[in-house]
């Protein structure tokens, strides 16, 4: 036999008529007190949470000097693929923290180091020593050996890194994905 239990037969509070309810002013006070406590606690909790989520929001900064290897590893008049480990790395980055760049050594200690990223939309450009051109596989951007724009849609030449030579080591200031607005 099915149980006779019907939620509709439960008493409706509205049907009970006016009971011994607290004074309206007291009810109002309790509501606003509750709302106030919650608002204060919400702000207290929200500030650290927002700080946590937006902690990576930085307009600039985030650059460190990293070594690309000894100067003598890069032959004169040649452009070679350089490699550095992203200075802002986590242990679980693995090989994705290895970052490529193009190292051009002209004469002696004159170097130019370019970011791998095409200035159009960030694809990796490839160096062709036979024609002394960088070509991008995505939308056909082409750059000359000195990084200047040769053809295609890129709005500017390749992004150069700041560089220096310390104790026979070639060092660049790196660690940030180069984008159009914040790279010299």
């Amino acid at each position: 036999m099915p149980e006779q239990f019907d939620y509709r037969s439960a008493p409706d509070p509205a049907m009970l008529g006016p009971g011994p309810t607290p004074e309206p002013s007291r009810r109002g006070f309790l509501f606003w007190l509750g709302a106030g406590i919650n608002a204060i606690v919400a702000v207290l909790i929200a500030i650290p949470v927002v700080g946590y989520i937006f902690s990576s929001w930085k307009q600039g900064g985030s650059q460190k000097w990293v070594s690309l290897g000894e100067v003598k590893d890069f032959p004169e008049d040649q452009t070679r693929l350089g490699k550095y480990r992203n200075p802002f790395t986590t242990p679980w980055d693995g090989y994705t923290a290895n970052t490529p760049c193009w190292v051009r050594r002209q004469k002696g200690e004159t170097f130019t180091v370019f970011a791998i990223n095409c200035t159009h939309l960030g694809c990796p450009v490839r160096w062709f020593p036979e024609s002394s051109l960088f070509m991008c596989p995505c939308h056909g951007g082409v750059y000359y050996a000195d990084g200047s724009h040769a053809a295609g849609p890129p709005p500017r030449g390749l992004y150069p890194y700041e560089m220096r030579i310390r104790n026979g080591n070639l060092e660049i200031k790196a660690g940030r994905l180069p984008t159009l607005q914040q790279t010299p």
Binding site: S56, W57, T90, T96, R126, S131, H139, G140, L177
Partner: protein, 499 residues
């Protein structure tokens, strides 16, 4: 029946579904709602399946930059039926976007966005945006070379946003450069944030479908009058409508069954997508491509003039979303039938033609240099047969200096620049020299990279290119007089006599 009925009654006594869900399930819908009305249900069904396959994939997938790729390969090759789950998930996503697009176009062409269903349409637009977001973040979770460089492309776009661009990039990446935090962020978006928003929005969407009703199939000449529409609709739907369950639901179920069968077939026949190549940034010999749904964007970005680019990348999506959201307020009443709305039909046709041709172009990608054409493609034999040593030297220059990465010979090679088969019919030797040395017209200047002898050789070779050789090969005879075809230089004894 005697055993089951009391159990049903026991639950019913507590849940009271007959009174809560009952009227909702059997609410009246217009009788004219036929097969065009199934695409929303199909999208919902596919979304529920995406949640289930997604949870299954999350049992194995590791959202770590170092190990995600290995876990995907494990899913493909080691995990029992892992490849099938991955295939279901990716084909499910394709089909979901497809069904959702058809649903949206149908709603647009049937005028269903008009009064009183403005909010239903707006929530639908938000659902569409979220679903595309799932598409992009999902492509990133397939942590391969396309994902890594796709993210790089996305960030290059984000970096163009005025003022906040650089900050935004670091915010989205979770750090200054693509790495572990970036993948974790996209994982959180793909698995928690966007699906959560989707579920909430679907709830609102369905509530609106119940509250505002589904659109009657429009009749030409019947206008939407805001003063009387709701009253008329209620009256009509109760007089001549049919219950959603089981009448319309039956049609929905058949359609859902068919799309699930199609999904099963696609997953079985075509398998999972990728992963394509370990996402090691040092492996730069890659040509990143987006998934199907973003191919048209990829094409647009190659074809736009540079001065429009930043506007299009940043402004256009905002503008498009704004127009879609404002649509029911711009055109909230009046005619619903597509035959009386020529601009709406033209717009849909234009949209389909543009998206179709851009996607086609994206697969051809004539703007991309073919990076290995110079070393991998043979010079057609007809172009070197009977040529002088200087011209042969020129043919070598065309290969070795990567000319073929952008210029095709006999249809093979890049298509960034014009094909060289008949270049001699378009340019004389001086013009060829000028073009090679100075470049121009989107060609790099080769002045510094070619010695005078190489320039002379390449010009000599290109001057033999009259577009005849391949034609002659096909016809089997030659009509082109060519000095170099003779074994010895011509000898004219009478000239000797004159001297």
């Amino acid at each position: 029946m005697t055993i089951i009925q009391p159990i049903i009654d026991w639950f019913e006594a507590r849940l009271g579904l007959k009174d809560t869900l009952g009227p909702t399930m059997s609410h009246a819908v217009p009788r004219s709602a036929k097969w065009w009305y199934v695409f929303g249900s199909m999208t919902l069904m596919l979304f529920m399946l995406q949640i289930m396959t997604g949870i299954c994939l999350a049992l194995v997938y590791v959202p770590s930059a170092d190990e995600a790729y290995a876990s995907l390969e494990y899913l493909n090759y080691d995990q029992t039926m892992g490849w099938f789950l991955r295939a279901l998930h990716v084909w499910g996503s394709h089909l979901m976007i497809a069904m959702m697009s058809i649903h949206m176009l149908q709603v647009f062409l049937f005028g269903a966005f008009k009064y009183p269903r403005e909010l239903t349409w707006i929530v639908g637009v938000l659902l569409f945006v979220c679903t595309l977001g799932m598409g992009f973040t999902g492509q990133v979770l397939r942590w391969d070379q396309d994902a890594y460089w796709g993210m790089s492309v996305g960030m290059a776009m984000g970096g163009r946003v005025p003022w906040i661009g650089p900050g935004l990039v670091q915010f989205v990446l979770g750090g200054p450069i693509i790495g572990g935090e970036s993948l974790s962020r996209f994982f959180a978006l793909h698995v928690f944030v966007i699906p959560g928003s989707l579920i909430a929005l679907i709830g609102v969407h369905l509530l609106l479908v119940i509250k505002c009703g589904i659109n009657e199939t429009p009749t030409p000449g019947v206008l939407v009058d805001k003063a009387t529409y709701r009253e008329d609709y209620e009256r009509e739907v109760h007089k001549r409508g049919m219950p959603f369950f089981p009448n319309a639901a039956g049609r929905d179920l058949v359609a859902c069954g068919l799309v699930l069968a199609l999904l099963f077939l696609c997953a079985m026949l075509f398998g999972p997508a990728g992963p394509n190549g370990q996402p090691d940034p040092m492996l730069i010999h890659t040509a990143p491509r987006p998934d199907f749904w973003f191919q048209s964007l990829f094409a647009v970005l190659a074809l736009l003039p540079p001065y429009m680019e930043t506007f299009l990348i940043i402004g256009f999506p905002v503008l498009a979303a704004g127009v879609l959201i404002m649509l029911p307020f711009l055109s909230g009443g009046g005619e619903k039938h597509w035959r009386r709305r020529p601009i709406a039909v033209l717009f849909v046709v234009m949209l389909m033609v543009s998206l179709g041709s851009l996607t086609y172009l994206a697969y051809k990608a004539p703007w991309s240099p073919v990076m290995n054409a110079w070393s991998a493609l043979p010079t057609p034999v007809e172009y070197v047969r009977g040529r002088s040593p200087l011209e042969l030297q020129g043919a070598m220059v065309v290969q070795n200096k990567q000319c073929r990465n952008c210029h095709a010979l006999d249809g093979k090679g890049g298509h960034r620049g014009p094909a060289l088969d008949d270049v001699a019919t378009r340019l004389n030797s001086d013009q060829i020299i000028r073009q090679v040395i100075q470049g121009g017209g989107n060609m790099p200047a080769y002045g510094k990279n070619l010695s005078p002898s190489e320039t002379k050789a390449v010009t000599a070779f290109l001057m033999t290119m009259h577009g005849q050789d391949m034609h002659e090969l096909a016809e089997g005879y030659s009509m082109t007089p060519r000095a170099t075809q003779q074994d010895v230089p011509p000898f004219f004894p009478e000239r000797l006599d004159e001297q």
